[in-house]
Amino acid sequence: METIEKILAKVQKPARYTGGEYNQIIKDKTKVDVRVALCFPDVYEIGMSNLGLRIIYGVLNNMENVWCERVFSPWADMEEQLRENNIPLYGLESYDTIKDFDIIAFSLGYELSYTNMLNMLDLAGVPLKRNERNDKNPLVIAGGSCSLNPNPISDFIDLFVVGDGEEIIVELVNLYNDLKADKDEKANKTKFLEKSSILDGVYVPSIHDKTNTTISKRVVKNLDTAFFPTRTIVPSMSIVHDRTVLELFRGCYHKCKFCQAGFTEHPVRSRSVETLTKQGIEAITNSGYDEIGLLSLSTGDYKDLSKLCDNLLKWCEPRKVSLSLPSLRASNFNVELLKQVQKVRKSSLTFAPEAGSQRLRDYINKDITEGELFDACKLAFENGWNSVKLYFMLGLPTETDDDVLAIAKVAHSVLNTWREHTNNKKRGVRITLSTSCFIPKPHTPFEREEQISVKEYLRRVSLLKNAIQSKMITYNWHSPDQGYVEAALSRGDKGLGAVIEAAWRGGARFDSWSECFSLQTWLNAFAECNLNIDDYATKKRKENETLPWSFIKV
């Protein structure tokens, strides 16, 4: 403990590494059979904001004989201290080193966290590659949207969970426990993998790769009866989403052609208003939070949204608890909703038309019309909002310069809408326009499309920038470099394992953080492995080409 105290005195935000928050689960390690390290390959503030992580933590700790602890990626300063002082990565609950745990489970939501995953294994003192690990090492498993194309990291992971994780994880841990001869010994890995490989939603590279089996995803059918954590950890430091969240439904009715979630999380499954109201009240009561976020891919589509908001507000308003509604779509935005959100607190409004012209929006299947967008903005401005964020993508298939220029037109029309409908011109308006580079994702209709080059993206950015005439419109564009690597990893094959490892050895960490990301490190890694990043990122795939992720059925 004293060594940890010593290093905590030397790092920024030490509360990231201490645990001890309200509602964390402490068990007697001599009384549990299976110990799981739930690893999130990003900092505490991001990991603790992840609902999936909270669900798995709750589900596993509900099992009496299982103790699940949290582990996050240490920031560079902490990594340096851990390495310098030879302290292996530890679980936040017990401070025990995770290399002695039975199972290391990664929650992988974005490809740019792969180097952090390797770094965590390395900091834990666990060999990176599955064929270098034996029965003395923990079993290393992974779940989350990255399982939709597990190829690039299948050298490192013993078992992937594909689809919803909360039911299968319980089955897996039970199976693991059944195979344990002794509480203090680990289960026979080969046997465990063999037995688990026949379960629905499980991909075991060492077994399935030999047989070309297709893997179907796991689906939790009834969300009303599924576990939902209402007694969750309340961080003692501010995190990215510092609020209670409710998950209204999974899946999405819309099928925007670029959207992986839209095409992989079906069918749509909702929770009932009654369940959600009860969960909301419980979660707020048990946490002391003053905000509930209503989460789902497209919250405005929830059929009983007004009723749910009414129910919750009745309880929340007198207690000074506010509601926040992320991911509203312009097409289902209405006054009632607006007023309900407004009752307690006013946040900035965000819309994502994704493409500037109606032609391109139709082509990508984004069913927002300009009329709907302007109506929604009009409503917002009339009701006193003075800040709108608009998100677009550049480089969508078939995009022309006219489509790019149309983005500027949309922004100017939003500005005009404000001029016509605001009741307070003096306060001004802030229209923030953001663009990111289109990334073709597996399992979407665009999975074979090309990504435009970094150079071409920047050309379109300056085209757009020059078309923006007003100071009230701020244009932020995301650097294309990260999207370029993300595109390569998203559509990667088994060859990329070596590249990821080379990038990590070259110093890549926290690649999703623009201030940490280095394109050069990745280009070097590709070169070292004699691979061309453009074969993965920008190349269009032929219609008859077998895609490396096609064995995963969504």
Binding site: E2, G20, S236, N286
Partner: protein, 216 residues
């Protein structure tokens, strides 16, 4: 409406919660314990909670005070069930004394060196001399920037002992100016002939007014 004063400790893991984060942490703790807080009026209402002396990250305390305005006249008996690890409310009462009357903090500081024991004893004497000198000038951070300041008048009753680690007890000025953890570190940073400890652990023990009477 009542203004309740709470005496609490903030130790172990809780010592790493920053002052700002602790404000929201304590607010949430009180709310989930069922305490009805009084809120400010206006666009963005927030509860009336004030913490007497901000505590640096990593410093422990057994004598923190905060005032909170609530509708009832007492906090629930089981209030400590709702706190994160390391935070414990010891006493709650109603007090008319202003928090600005606090003047001195009794501290316990541990200097951890990887020395042999006889070396430690020698070092302990060296440190005693340093901290009880008539003048101790450091670059001190204040609102108006960094200023060369003699902090000796604001450190009293210095004592050193040497057990497993070198231990200093003293009374430090609590406000105007505040002498805190960072100033102690600064003393080492600015004295080249004194080895900086591997770790300095500090704990607040008690607080006093200007007449050295225990502040309540």
């Amino acid at each position: 409406m009542y203004r309740i004063r709470c005496l609490y400790s903030k130790k172990d893991k809780a010592a790493y919660i920053s002052h700002l984060d602790f404000m929201s942490t304590i607010q949430r703790s009180l709310i989930r314990a069922g305490v009805k807080l009084i809120y400010t009026k206006g666009f963005n209402p927030h509860p009336y909670i004030s913490i007497a002396l901000p505590l640096s990250v990593g410093v422990e305390s057994e004598c923190e005070l905060l005032d909170v305005e609530i509708t009832g006249n007492s906090l629930p008996k089981n209030i400590n069930n709702f706190m994160p690890d390391g935070v414990e409310i010891h006493r709650t009462y109603i007090s008319a004394r202003k928090l600005s009357n606090i003047q001195w903090v009794d501290v316990f500081i541990e200097f951890i060196y990887d020395f042999r024991d006889d070396e430690k004893a020698k070092y302990s004497k060296k440190l005693l001399k340093l901290f009880s000198a008539d003048s101790l000038i450091i670059d001190k951070k204040s609102k108006s920037g960094i200023k060369s300041t003699d902090i000796a008048p604001f450190i009293k009753d210095v004592n050193f002992s040497c057990e497993e680690n070198i231990i200093m007890t003293a009374k430090l000025s609590a406000q105007n100016p505040t002498i805190g953890y960072n100033d102690i570190i600064q003393v080492f940073n600015q004295n080249n002939d004194i080895q900086t400890p591997d770790l300095i652990k500090m704990k607040r023990i008690a607080i006093y007014d200007k007449d050295m009477i225990l502040f309540k």
